[in-house]
Amino acid sequence: MMIGLAVLPPIAVALEEEFFIDLFSRVIIHAIAAVSLNLILGYGGMVSFGHAAYLGVGGYMVGIGTFHAFEDGVEWMGSGWVQFPAAILASALVALLIGAVSLRTRGVYFIMITLAFAQMLFFSGVGLEIYGADDGLNLYSTSDFSGWVDLSNESTLYYVSYAMLLLALYTSHRIIGSRFGWVIRGARSNERRMRAVGFPTYSYRLAAFMIAGGMCGLAGALMANHTEYVSPSMMHWTKSGDLIIMIVLGGMGTLFGPVVGAVAFLFLEEFLSSITEHWQIIFGPMLILVVLFARGGIDSLLTLRRRPDE
């Protein structure tokens, strides 16, 4: 599948279906966000219902930077070299603050508190009159990488996003297998025992929360460049829900599950909404079927077919 994604743009151009580049850029950017959420939700068992907040924070870093670069002539703020690191750092910082409070709770309380924080950010975005309030902010241009990379070119943006997805996957893979990753997975498996063998689980979870937040901020920055538009709706709770659905659909706690989930989700959305405006009526039952009959998500079904002897 990853190879398929790599060769998509030239094929799409050849078939004169450039629309697919646009759709798949969207898919890939969402996949990065889903991979980041999977790190804490799938591997760490932390059901964060406010993950879209970091999409928003990352996106607004780009949006606000570009805004000031054009309105006030502060040129450095339009630079991608500034905007992208800022998006990652700001998101990680917000994750630190949200996590520091939320991670003291468990279960439903954790879900509710992360949701509440994300909604707070959503309404803060709505309150930002100068940056368009709930209408959002149109970007005058994409992030400026001193002429090296032109993100306004669809194929370029696609490949940059694709490279970032590979980076996110590789980073996830390394983290999950590292000592740190073991602590995170151990804490999901049995937190009480983790504490009894001497791990301060809170600090490790908080660090994981920050990493996931930063990674999602990167997705947010890409998303802003893709749509050339940022608005509070990026942070809306339904967006957080979409990310969770992608993970559940694709396969929680597997490396490629979130990518599979993002592809499946956005494709179904695209396809079903072309049939009916109420596409969720069809989508809902499909999700229920996956949850009931393929607990490991679509990824587990694919793996099963690949290795029938298991």
Partner: protein, 279 residues
């Protein structure tokens, strides 16, 4: 007598109107196997939870090796040499036997903010973990999933995890719970080996095991210690007999395995209870 390794003074823990630990005193000296016995709901597991740092006492103090640890977080206590096992088997079920112990080894091996190098084949985790598995007789099962072990093997793994990091005091919460005679015997042998190296605080209902292992026994009833002494003292103690051991328990040669023993017979249902034994 040696300086005590563990000294609990006037410990109180209340859950609402229930006083689970009631001005309890307990002294454990280095090198001994100290058993804590008492009827169900006497507050044994609650006591252990407070010593381990999982529960906060309402008042009283706990000293470990002369240091006041009453307000130290649980993970600090582990690093000071205070390890515990759980009454209800409490493992990382999605991990293999070896990985379970490797995680415990990792907890002792500095911080784990190491994000990049794979841990799976790290010899500094594997080697010590394999050595500990050897010690509890589980080496051949190293690559089995923890969830697939038999009950007795899971209890052995429980001990293995508690053993990593060379604890000075090992607290065992009913290591023989739910075991058959053969498995119990095996566990007694493992503990007989361990007693040469460390101090053991043992909560156990199997009276044969208690009387064959313990150097001293404390009897806890309604959250307070009513007697502490050698197994002989405890057998002879009239108050203990009335409060706990019952009339069936008489004479130094009799175990508690008689079918109508209140101590053992009433315990069985508890081992199936997923919650902690005490409220």
């Amino acid at each position: 007598m040696n300086e005590p390794i563990l000294q609990v003074r006037q410990l109180v823990k209340r859950f609402g109107s229930l006083t689970a630990t009631n001005h309890l005193d307990l002294t454990v000296v280095p090198g001994e196997v100290h058993a804590v016995i008492g009827p169900n709901g006497a507050g044994k597991t609650t006591l252990l939870g407070q010593i381990a740092g999982e529960l906060k006492p309402d008042s009283g103090t706990i000293h470990f090796n002369g240091v006041n640890i009453t307000h130290r977080p649980d993970h600090h206590r582990v690093h000071m040499g205070l390890a515990r096992s759980f009454q209800i088997t409490n493992l990382f079920t999605e991990f293999t036997v070896l990985e379970n112990v490797m995680l415990a080894v990792q907890a002792q091996d500095g911080h784990s903010f190491r994000f990049w190098r794979p841990a799976q084949h790290d010899p500094s985790l594997r080697e010590p973990a394999l050595a500990i598995l050897e010690e509890v007789d589980l080496r051949p099962r190293a690559d089995a999933m923890a969830a697939s072990l038999s009950h007795g093997e899971q209890r052995q793994l429980e001990i293995a995890i508690a053993l990593t990091g060379q604890p000075k005091l090992l607290m065992l919460d009913e290591p023989m719970a739910g075991m058959g005679p053969v498995e119990t015997q095996r566990m007694i042998e493992i503990l007989q080996e361990l007693r040469h190296r460390l101090t053991i605080l043992l909560i156990e209902h199997d009276m044969d095991a208690v009387f064959s292992l313990a150097d001293r026994i404390s009897v806890v009833v309604y959250g307070d210690t009513i007697a502490t002494g050698t197994p002989e003292d405890i057998r002879a103690n009239e108050e203990v007999r009335q409060a706990y051991l019952g009339d069936t328990f008489s004479g130094p040669t009799t175990g508690s395995e008689t079918p109508n023993s209140p101590a053992h017979g009433s315990e069985k249902p508890e081992s199936g209870n997923p919650g902690s034994g005490n409220p």
